[in-house]
Amino acid sequence: MDYYSSPRWTAEIADCSMPMTMDTYSNCSFKCIYCFSQFQRGIGEGKEAYLNNEVKWVNPEAFKKIWEHPETSQFGEYVKGKRTMQWGGLSDQFDNNERKYGKTLELLRWLRKNYPDQQISFSTKGTWWLDDIRYTELFKDNPNWNCKFSIITLEAEKAKIVEAGVDSPQKRLDAIEKFAKLNAGGATLRLRPFIIGISTPTYLDLIREARNRGATAMSTEFFCVERRSNVLKERFHYINELCGFDLYKFYEKYSVQHGYMRLNRKIKEPFVKNMKQVCDEIGMRFYVSDAHFKECCCNGSCCGLPPTFNYSRGQWCEALMIAKKNGTVRYSEVREDIDKYLAGFQKQKANGFNKGGASVRAKFQGMSMADYMRWLWNNPDNGQSPYTLFEGVLYPKGKDENGDLIYEYQENRTFIPVSGCSGCGHNH
């Protein structure tokens, strides 16, 4: 049997609070037009299998071994430390493949029985599983399992076109309500990707409605356009029609990068301010996963986990929160988790991590993932450094006694000031 390889270390390890990310299946039945995983899976060696909807799943025995024999796995220290795992990074574990094969259920039953304190944050657009007692009984009164529900618009007609394989936004709001009633680890509205022209004009009503249904947090991130994705190019006209203008051209004109196109901060700012204001009004925790305005997050997990969760603190979102509170941040304030969980394996051998070309391999040869994180911290010109990633909100102002950079929070680059508060106006 040829199995799918997961979990893996996320490519966004530098600023991710759940770097260990799990997918049950190699493919996803939902086929959303904007899905970033089709950019990754729709190119290279696995392209044909992916586009032909071939499905593989993880090896259950290999999965279990991570907990039973942690010394044999790169993830061993992470799970021994009971750090939160992401489930649903590139595929939806509650999609129609799960209905057919039930592999997620098998793994969740095993985890619930044997390692009930393993924290998980799921990400889904699926709704059917909340009417299936085999699943809901695992979540009921389980504070360690959080779930994010992705909804990007309240308009069912728009959703039907960009998310053809998914239930309507209204059904997904119902799912939030059902999940909230299970008294599990919290329901989060995942308003990602925020697509101008599709998420507008209903996004604020969507947030209010999710709160009414029991969501306690929301997380957003603006749509990025991968020019190299032929799958996206072929389908982009649907998005343009729904927007009423050429969104592709809009990205070409107003993006800060031109391969993987990301809109500039000025365009995002009015939407972020509106969302934050509504969340403050209705008592909902607000998080921005986008590198722009990530400083708006209530705490250092941009997926929306509350600070009571045991997510990884060894990453730059946490650093950003520390700097927002104190004005500056040092590497020593985030390195503990990095050294505990990322020092035991080489960056170039990290599961699922992009190894880069020959020059990159030579440059980072012998470096552990923890060494690599420290290198990123100390090389602010790199795109994954705290300085470049957050576009200057953290500025390297000098070095500490260990030779590591000290970053200073730059109030002139954002509307969120330095304060003792998390920035959201609420005590969490």
Partner: protein, 92 residues
Amino acid sequence: MDDFDFFMDEQVEEKEEFPNLPKELQGIDLNPDESEKLKNDFPTLKQYITISFLESQTKELAEILGVPLLDPKKKNTYSFEEIKGAKENGLL
């Protein structure tokens, strides 16, 4: 004819490049601020060297560097540890 506005078409075209933009974006300059450009005092060190050579010099250069093989058709990349290791292990 004297009253014809030669700029009208151009103005209309510019105005309608992105019709139906949401109200949040109407009436504001959407171009990034110049101040968004990033500069800092801690540039990444290059930490590599480039050596150019002719195909006929391939063997000689490999001997000088102490590496077992150079392929003139490709970019050859060695880390410091590899060259040091090759010398220490007598791979010359």
